[in-house]
Amino acid sequence: MNKLSSLSDAVASIPSGSHVALSGFSITRCVMAFAREVIRQGIRNLTVSQCVGAMDTDLLVGGGAVERLIYGGGSLDRFGRLACVNAGIESGSLRAEEYSSLSIAFRYLAGSLGIPFIPIKSLSGSDLLSRLQEQAGSDVAFVADPFSGERWLTLTPLLPDVAVVQVQTCDEEGNAWIMGPKWDSPEQVKASTRTIVIAEHVVPTEMIRREPERCVVPNLLVSHVVELPFGAHPTSLYREYDYDADEIRNYVEATRKQDSWKAYLDRYVYGVKDHWEYLDLVGGLRRLRTLRADPILGY
């Protein structure tokens, strides 16, 4: 079944207040074009979850779209911290529930398997846990192991309404391949009610059938397929294009002050009609071709 969709239609399918799981990790495989379109469409009060907070989440928070963040910490690697997320936490305007990478991954895993709780060793003995017990007591609880009697921390499943996942390749039905490490994407997708796939390339299903071991997202989970070149820009997409260090630095610089941040949003988000105008703004093919990955190295 053909699920090809425009980015704007895919984004419009998400009501304000939804829980959205995003596929970014720091400055790689972030759903940046998606985040820009969400802000443009004025979708608000989202719950966003992600194992390690990334640039897509930071932009969505900075664009005023996020009410609640469930994550395991995060940064923009050497480029800087998640300035918008941190500002939201410091001011209290963002409700952040902070875990570790594995505890979020286990919550997605439990969601993907349809199990109501999952035990974990992490978090115990930390202030992360005491904070969660105050803030979000209903998602963490100790239970006696029914076999040994030992006390184990358990977590509830995460069950997002939509996973939004950037991939290199999929077909028009949404059967998708992810090259490189997959971090939390497989469990996010399988935990979520439905998935929006954003792909650099849409290929014939015939090609998907040639390497069935590679399929990470089976089409039965997918509601929309959006083919979008450079959809993760300025973050990287392994084997397709490198991160755009200059544009990430522009972003980080802009987040330092309210004025410059407003100007950034006006220029890169509100000032363009769609992703095509954004790509023109950042230099078009002349600039973007310099980011193209070396086919041997993959970056």
Binding site: V52, G72, G73, V85, N86, A105, G298
Partner: protein, 252 residues
């Protein structure tokens, strides 16, 4: 041969690693320490990055774990659940490297916030896989500079537990393992077998005991004889400078 404090830290980290161990690594000095060990005395070691990378052989340095440069030539590319779940949580990680904004005398680490968590504070990076490694690895090695206010009596937030309140309090929390070494730019510490307080093991050449203790916010256990840390060899310095980090991305 001349060497920097960072180079000695990396070498000291490498010396803690044994052949055939499984090591969970973050960006920065831990990467240098791990690749140095692997290229010298521990060729059978397995290097893991939490996001799903096993045994890469990078030819370029990267800005972080998210940089595809450091995934290059991996033997396996998988996922958080695979690395942190089926290797780390399953109990197969021998050594995890950790760093932090602040540490206390029991090796508890803060990477979350500075200031008053109930009042005015600045939020930093949080845990990532650090809490998981601190909770589940058989041992952890803390690598961080011994600057003012990094080693404190009380830290603003415990992101990754060390020996919690010392003694057997970590075990009572349900956790095994715990930190085995703290490697700073001035010295190497272990932990006292009973109290689990930081204990000076060796002082880096060029430092006095006074240099070491004056930059700690607490008094470490000090044995009667504290040797100097063995300096790096020429081969180790060559590998760090020419092979592992020629652009000085990790060594600062």
């Amino acid at each position: 041969m001349e060497f920097t404090a960072s180079e000695l830290m990396a070498v000291a980290g490498a010396r803690e690693l044994k052949d055939r161990q499984v090591v969970a690594v973050g960006i920065g000095l831990p990467i240098v320490a791990s690749f140095l060990a692997k290229k010298t005395h521990a060729p059978g070691m397995t290097i893991l990055f939490e996001l799903g990378v096993i045994d890469p052989e990078p030819v370029h340095t990267g800005v972080g774990l998210a940089d595809p440069r450091i995934w290059h030539r991996a033997k396996a590319l998988s996922s958080f659940v695979d690395i942190l779940g089926t290797v780390l949580h399953r109990g197969r990680v021998d050594v995890g490297f950790l760093g932090g904004l602040e540490a206390d005398q029991f090796g508890n680490l803060n990477t979350t916030l500075v200031g008053d968590p109930k009042g005015k504070f600045r939020h930093m990076v949080g845990s990532g896989g650090a809490n998981d490694i601190a909770s589940c690895a058989k041992t952890t090695i803390l690598i961080m500079r011994q600057e003012e206010r990094k080693f404190r009596e009380t830290i603003s937030f415990v992101t990754s537990p060390g020996f919690v309140n010392g003694g057997d309090s970590r075990q009572r929390t349900g956790l095994r393992g715990g930190p085995s070494r703290v490697i700073t730019d001035k010295a190497i510490y272990g932990f006292h077998p009973e109290t689990k307080k930081m204990m000076l093991i060796s002082i880096h050449p060029g430092n006095t005991q006074q240099d070491v203790t004056s930059t700690l916010g607490f008094q470490p256990v000090i044995p009667s004889h504290v040797p100097f840390t063995e300096p790096p060899t020429a081969e180790q310095l060559h590998l760090i400078r020419e092979v592992i980090d020629p652009e000085r991305m990790y060594m600062g």
